[in-house]
Structures are given as C-alpha cells and as structure tokens.
Amino acid sequence: MQFIENEEQEKKGFRWKMQQFLDKESVAGYVFSAPFIIGFLGFTLIPMAFSMYYSLTDYDMINAPTFVGMDNYTRLFTDARFLKSIRVTLVYVGISVPVKLIFALFIAYLLTRKVKGDTLYRSLFYVPSLIGGSIAVALVWKELFARLGLINALLNTIGLESINWFGAQDKAMIPLILSSAWQFGSAMIIFAAGLKEIPNTYYEAALIDGANKAQMFFKITLPLLSPIILFNLIMQTISAFMAFTQAFVITGGGPNDATNFYALYVYNHAFNFYNMGYASAMSWIMLLIIAFITFMILKFSKYWIFEEK
C-alpha cells in the first residue's frame, strides 16, 4: 500500500514538473513551432543537402551513387537540349508574365468602378485561375487547339487558314502562353485589393486640377500601385519558371523540344531516365537562375517603385 502511494506521489511530482517545464514560455514556443522545425529539417534542409551531394554524383537509383565532381554541371553547358530548355522557358516567362499582369491590372482597374454586379464579374474572371491548373482544363485546351479544333474553326470563319498549333516549333508555345494569361484571376484580386487602398481624395484633387482619365491612371494609380505590381511580378515569375503540368499534358514538350520547359526536362531526366545526379544539378542551376532574376527585379525596382513620403 505504502509503496503504491509513494509511486503515485512520485508520478504526480513528475507530472507537475513536466507541466512546469512545458509552461515555460520558451518551451511552449518550441513545442508549437516543432512541426515547422522538424518539417524544415526533414523536408527542406536535409533534402537540399542530399540534392547538393547527388548533383556531384552519377546516380540511377539502382547502383550506389558514384562521385563525379563537377561533371554534371560542366555537361549541362554542352547539353543542347538543356540550353534550349532554358531558352524556351525564358521566352515563356518573358511573354506570359507581362501579358498576364497587364490583363489582371486592366480588369482590376475596370472593376474599381462601383457598379452593380462587380463581385459577380470578379468571380467570373477568377474562375480560370481556380481551375486552370487542373488536368481537366489542360485536356480541354489540347482539344481547343487541335488541328480540327475550335480555335482553327474560328480562324476559318474569319477567313484565315488553320494553324497546326502543336506541329510547328514557333507556334506550340502560343497555346501555353494563352493558357497562362487566361489565369490572371489571382493577380487581378491582389491588384483590386491594392486599388481599393488608394484614397479617393487623390483622384478628386487631380480632377479639380483638370487631369483626364489617362493622366490619373499614369500619374496616380500606377505609382501608388507599384509595390503591388512588384509583388505580383516576382510571384508570377517564380511560378512561371516552374510551369510543368500544362506543358506535360498539352504539348509534352514538343515539337522538337519547342516547349520543353525547364521543369519538364528535369522531370524527364529524373523520373524517366533516372539520371538523379544530372537532374539534381539541373535543379540547382534552376534555383540559381530564379534567385538571380528575382534579385535583378528587386534591384531594378528602385527605378520604378514609387515611395510615398
């Protein structure tokens, strides 16, 4: 009896101590952030270290990795398919991102007018962003631009000849760019939120000074919106660099690698040819390119970002 009581007291003591320990502010902080700490180590930092190591090896997932030093990296610069994939990705990013942002800004600006049904319009224009990443839409896109598809039928009715969208190297990118531009909805919503923040008094003052609509847009709206334009530009650029699903389903990277985007090429090396080392090296170069471009966008932003005093 005595023994059991003692044990219980001890248990209580342990529990109490445990409670005291957990209640400490710093301990609670680590407990609550534990998921992130574990996840960051396990799913980001350690894999990145592995990836760095694999990028210096030849690894096919069957045989043990063999160390090859910088070979994978030097090989990349003589790989014509790789160089082409960088080129087509840059073209895709360089065209699709500005087109998308111009659409997003234009529609968001139109919708700043308080009119009946503005939320309905906003929802309508958001729908493509909502579903654009799905396979369902990619399949629809493929059929729309097929040889006998709807887009060609439309071209024929206005007297133009059909275009072999997926057969010509200089045309295959167009459906993919249109698909991306079509999904301007989330950028539009971010712009719309930014436009709402611009005080009406600025426009009223400009109106008294005799400014017209265009002047107001270029002298008031654009400068005040510039931080949000920068944000959208960076986010859209990063995600455009990682474009994968649409190209994988719609063009498969063809014809003749004309739409063989970076992410697609990495995927093929990693999961079709099992060149894990080579693919790892490729993804590091991708990280460097994205970091460099983001850095340049930020660096040059000081020339066009307007800062309120």
């Binding site: 680590y30 609550f32 992130f36 396979i135 629809v140 729309l144 919503i189 991708m286 990280l287």
Partner: protein, 279 residues
C-alpha cells in the same frame, strides 16, 4: 445623363462579352460531356449538343483497367482531406508560436519560413523522392500527405497576418484566469482564427485536389490513382479515346472545386488579397 447611360451600357457589354470568352472553354467542356466524338472533334462552336449523350457519364465512370472513377474520386478525397486537416492544425500551431510566443531563435525560424515560400519545389523534389524510395514509401499515399503535417509557409504567413488583428488583451485576461500557453491557443486563438482557417481549407483543398505532379511521381497502381492522374491516363488512350466520356469526367472533377468556390468565395478572395498585399 444619356451619355453616362451609354457609357455604362458599353462598360457592362464589354465586361460581359469578355467574361463570356473567358469562361467559354469551361462551358465548352461541360457541353462536350454530352456530345459524341465526331461532334467534339469537328470544331463545333455551338454550346448546345446535337444529341444529348448522358451515357458519357456512365461510360466515363467505368474508368479503365477495371478501376472506376468512384475509386479515383475516393482516393482524391482521402488525400485532399487528410492533407487539409494536417495543414490547418500544424500551420495554426506554428503561426501561434511565431506571432504570440517569445523564444530564442524565433526570428531565424521566421526568416527560414519566408525563404521556403520562395524556394522552387523542384530542388527538393528529387532528393525527397530518393528518401521516400529508400524508406519503401513510393507507391503509397504517405509522401503525398505527410509533408502537410509540418506547417506550410504560405498558410502560416496568412494566419500570422490574421492573428495581428486578435487583441493581445484576450491572451492576457485568459492568462489571469489561469490559462497557459496551450489552453490560450486551444480555447481562444484557434476558435478566433476561424475565418483564416476557412481560407486555408479552401485554398489547400483546391491546390491538393488539382495537384498532378505529386500523384504522378508517387502513385503507381491504378487502385490508388487520384482523379487528376486518372484523367490524364484516360486521355492517353490515343485513337480510342472517348472524348465525350473524358469531358464528362473532367466536368465531374471540377465540381468539388466549384462548389467550394460558390459557398466560400468571400473567404478565398480575402485570403488572396491579404497575403498578397502584405507580402
């Protein structure tokens, strides 16, 4: 006055016609689900099917390889639901730690979180795959749901933005009443986070529902395929593809996303605008 009316008319006319062009592909897909191959492949622009082929749905539902779309939908639901629960709970905990508790290393962790938001997933995809492969988990659903239980930067950030608006007095008065950091979280902060949690659920749900690359890499048996993979394989059947059935299943695959959008539209738009703005 008249001039203004004309202007308003053109304004709405433009928005409606532009909106129509925008959703035309979606409408075309939906009506395509009721057509036969010949009609779909002829570049027919009309949105009204000539002969309403409801059997496309029955044909598509049968799936392929002896596995029906019922299974694919169930798989997608399981993966999406489990991932979403994991994301909500873990992200809320981390957001609470980062915004309400002071501890050594918090700022370093916060910066690390911001960096993971910018990190292209491609870089870690390959080593993760190799690790899962060595653990024998490729082919299971675990690689698709497990990462969601460790907080996701985007949503942590979003919840932190929201927590700023919850007055700290609430924490303090709860503390006076005998709450500790854990009960303050479970009784005060988590319930008040509701709008932010709904936003997280919606966005995570449709991201995961549409996810293609994850299932493409990790799933290798038809019984475990998600809807997105099944649709792709359905379309890959080549010359024998039943386009009507493919569009029927495509349409069905978008219904959950549309339903969520219909009911929680406001939360979705709030979420995008707040995180977008303060980034």
């Amino acid at each position: 006055m008249n001039k203004k009316k004309i202007k308003t008319f053109f304004y709405h006319a433009f928005l409606i016609s532009f909106g129509f062009i925008m959703i035309y592909p979606v409408l075309w897909m939906i009506t395509g689900s009721l057509r036969n191959n010949a009609e779909i492949l002829s570049g027919n622009m009309s949105l009204i099917p000539e002969n309403w082929r409801w059997e496309n749905f029955a044909n598509g539902w049968r799936g392929f390889g002896g596995v029906g779309f019922g299974t694919f939908f169930k798989n997608s639901f399981v993966i999406t639901t489990v991932s979403t629960i994991g994301t909500v709970v873990s992200s809320a905990c981390v957001a609470y730690a980062f915004s309400r508790i002071r501890f050594f290393g918090r700022n370093v962790l916060f910066v690390a979180m911001l960096l993971t938001m910018m990190l292209p997933g491609q870089v870690i995809l390959i080593p993760q795959y190799i690790i899962y492969n060595q653990l024998g988990l490729v082919g299971t659903r675990i690689p698709l749901v497990l990462p969601h239980f460790f907080g996701q930067a985007f949503f942590i950030y979003q919840m932190m933005q929201f927590m700023v608006s919850i007055p700290r007095d609430l924490d303090e008065s709860a503390y006076m009443d005998g709450c500790n950091k854990y009960t303050i979280f479970s009784k005060i902060i988590f319930p008040l986070l509701k709008p932010s949690i709904i936003t997280t659920i919606i966005i995570q749900f449709y991201w995961k529902w549409d996810d293609f690359m994850g299932p493409l890499i990790y799933l290798n048996k038809p019984e475990s395929y998600t809807v997105s993979i099944a649709l792709k394989l359905f379309a890959d059947a080549g010359s024998t593809t039943d386009y009507g059935a493919m569009f029927a299943m495509s349409t069905l695959s978008l219904i959950p996303v549309f339903l969520i959008f219909l009911f929680f539209n406001k939360y979705l738009i709030d979420g995008i605008s707040t995180t977008g703005l303060k980034g």
